[in-house]
């Protein structure tokens, strides 16, 4: 595929993400996955470039480029079995395809939104942001991309939620997915840290103590406070 063809395919996919659910979706699951991985990796690379002026810090760019797509894809994968079975037990098996498509579109939208925000961390870093400032800036950008992903999910769930018979259950499942995803995603983000990386420390794929629990850390933080 030529560069022009690739760009026009990406353009079609992005427009497909914003399309109303009633319109026939063109994007295939594999295309959505590739778009998600590439876009999130681009954001990750920019995110990991904090204080990358020394050679020792350069690998952090590659690590973050690998870990950001991992964060999104693995979190979705872990939540998926529970979501499918809960849909089936609530009698939503007939709409399972639409529900899974909504998730695929939402996750892809989250990744593409992150990709589109990739220049922002560079600007923040170039503006001389401290390590804390870099963390806060990235948290804001992640929140924005997550909100966009959730908006796409809600839009694609609109028809399901409006069903006279099963609408209420679909709304419950939308809430269940969001809760599960947030619960697992937070721990996944904690495990996969550092994404930005502390400037004084060498680049690392994972912290020396990656297998700790984010929620216990938060509780400890509050107790110490």
């Amino acid at each position: 595929m030529t560069a022009r063809g690739l760009l026009s395919a990406a353009d079609a996919l992005i427009h497909d993400l914003g399309r109303e659910p009633a319109a026939p979706a063109q994007a295939r699951p594999l295309a959505l996955l590739i778009a998600l991985i590439v876009s999130a990796a681009v954001y990750g690379a920019c995110m990991g470039s904090f204080s990358a002026y020394s050679a020792a810090r350069v690998p952090q760019i590659a690590y973050a480029a690998i870990k950001v797509p991992m964060l999104v894809v693995v979190t979705s994968g872990l939540c998926m079995p529970g979501f499918v079975v809960l849909n089936l037990t609530l009698g939503l098996g007939a709409d399972l395809g639409s529900a899974l498509r909504a998730i695929a579109f939402a996750q892809c939208a989250l990744g593409v939104a992150l990709g589109s925000l990739a220049p922002f961390p560079l600007l923040v870093y170039a503006s001389g942001a401290s390590h804390d400032g870099a963390l806060i800036g990235n948290a804001v950008l992640f929140s924005l991309a997550t909100a966009i992903g959730h908006t796409v999910m809600r839009r694609r769930y609109r028809e399901l939620s409006a069903q006279p018979e099963h609408g209420g259950r679909h709304r419950v499942m939308l809430w269940v997915w969001t809760t599960l995803y947030a619960f697992v995603g937070m721990q996944m983000g904690w495990m996969l840290r550092p994404f930005v990386g502390s400037p004084g420390m060498p680049a690392a794929f994972l912290r020396e103590e990656p297998f700790t629990n984010a929620y216990i850390e938060i509780i400890d933080l509050f107790l110490r406070w």
Partner: protein
């Protein structure tokens, strides 16, 4: 593959909990028991990972023994709870106007446990992920209680709907049991009740009477649900360690002391304690 299709059919019918779905001839006691054992073992396996994870790199086989114990004990927990509570369910449901024979009642109960365990096993990926990423025992206890609580409430909702459907159903039992697997929609075209049925169809009883019976059935079910819950959690306490406290050496069973609620509260306090 056939077993998987049967499980899929059961889950798809879970919200309807229709007589035809639950009492299908191919969904006999054997397959249901198989699902209870295999899905229970699967969740127990995920549960037992915690012990392997915290004992990793240490001498001794405590972690692996706990994994084996959890895999064996988790399905046993459900079967023992069933053993204790099934007679009361059978009697209570009969008193509540559900006209099922012993085997049918057992199948409905096992189907509810299968729904419970399927939901639990599907959340097992999340449990496994947290198992690998945390060393906090109280957190794992609270997480397991939360996941099993969610799955249990879905299983009980299935059972409640199943018993409710059957208490007000006008369908005769025999033709449905003998009918081949059919989509749930075909229930609408089922034949009218047979005249030899000993149970008067709701149409022959007055509407207020049917409503009063349904209310009684609901109340009886609520009482039984409380009993089932209490027995289940106490059984889990008796069969502990299910997860395996890291500072204690492995044993198949712990001394009989305390109760589930004290243990759960203690773990909650430990999680938030200094």
């Amino acid at each position: 593959m056939k077993a998987f299709r049967q499980l899929d059919n059961l889950l798809r019918a879970a919200h309807l909990a229709q007589r035809s779905a639950v009492l299908r001839p191919e969904l006999g006691l054997g397959p249901l028991l198989f699902f209870v054992l295999s899905l229970g073992a699967l969740y127990g396996f995920f549960m037992g990972w915690y012990s392997v994870s915290v004992h990793w790199g240490q001498s001794g086989a405590d972690g692996w023994l706990q994994l084996l114990a959890s895999t064996l004990k988790f399905p046993a927990l459900f079967l023992c709870t069933l053993l204790v509570t099934f007679p009361s369910l059978y009697v209570f449901s009969a008193l509540g106007g559900v006209h099922l024979d012993f085997e049918q009642a057992l199948r409905v109960m096992l189907a509810a446990i299968v729904v419970h365990l399927t939901v639990a096993a599907s959340l097992g990926t999340i449990l496994a992920f947290f198992t690998l990423s945390t060393r906090s025992y109280p957190f794992m206890v609270v997480l397991n209680i939360a996941l099993l609580g969610v799955a249990g409430s879905i299983g009980l909702a299935f059972l409640r709907r199943a018993l409710q459907t059957m208490s007000t159903s006008v369908l005769p039992v025999a033709p449905v049991l003998e009918a081949p697997a059919a989509p749930a929609a075909s229930e609408a075209q089922a034949p009218p009740p047979q005249s030899d049925s000993s149970v008067p169809p709701p149409a022959s009883r007055g509407a207020p009477q049917v409503a009063a019976e349904a209310q009684t059935a609901r109340m009886i079910f609520r009482v039984w649900t409380v009993l089932y819950g209490l027995v289940g959690v106490q059984m889990a306490w008796l069969l502990r360690p299910m997860i395996g406290r890291p500072e204690l050496t492995f044993s198949w069973f712990r001394a009989r002391e305390g109760n589930f609620f004290l243990g759960a509260l203690q773990n909650l306090a430990d999680m938030f304690g200094p």
